[in-house]
Symmetry: C2
Subunit: 123 residues, 2 copies
């Protein structure tokens, strides 16, 4: 089974996590057969290792990490690959890969541009 | 004239800024009559004060800040209001306001959930 691990930054304020939890919920509603876990780089739990373990416990032998970052800086280009390398070493029977940062996909650039104009110019 | 000030976090890696520049470009294409500036909280230039001055120099007497953050933590709830207060004091003839963080809008939650499933399950 192929699981999805959403990887977000984390913050001190618990309210920060709400959109990320909503994204995970929307994905579970749209694809109920596909396990979706949410993990944080720092300041929030679970971390990526715990979330990966949850997906494996749910039967996943393949896990794709989706970085929920708008821009791809050190967290996506350096921290995430380090953590993925650790997981690959720890769980040789599971296939891990990662997509680009979600903000780098053209449809998200377009969606944000559209939503920003709507927010600003709403009556 | 009503200007839009996109407010992003900033990062050490210049490549981090690409999606934000693409968002600003997409908005300028969609609404060529509306000035759009992009500013960063830290690590990148311009800062919010310089970007606001650019919008005013372009004739804006009203500026709406759109926080390009997925979650609203301390940067959106504390740092941004402090900077807006400074701008309001510095430029009493200009109206400033701010929208919620872009990631908190339902259409962006939906767009990210859809894009994430497409990225993971693309052939």
């Amino acid at each position: 089974m192929h699981g999805i691990l959403l990887f977000a930054h984390g913050a001190r304020d618990p309210a920060w996590a709400r959109p990320f939890e909503s994204i995970a919920d929307a994905m579970r509603s749209a694809a109920p057969e596909q396990p979706v876990a949410l993990a944080y780089l720092e300041l929030m739990q679970p971390d990526i290792g715990s979330a990966a373990a949850d997906l494996m416990a749910a039967g996943c032998d393949s896990i794709t990490v989706v970085p929920l970052f708008l821009g791809a800086g050190g967290h996506v280009r350096r921290d995430l690959p380090q953590r993925l390398d650790e997981l690959v070493r720890q769980y040789p029977g599971v296939r891990f890969d990662a997509t680009p940062a979600i903000g780098e996909t053209p449809q998200i650039v377009h969606a944000i541009a559209t939503a920003a104009l709507q927010l600003v110019n709403a009556p």
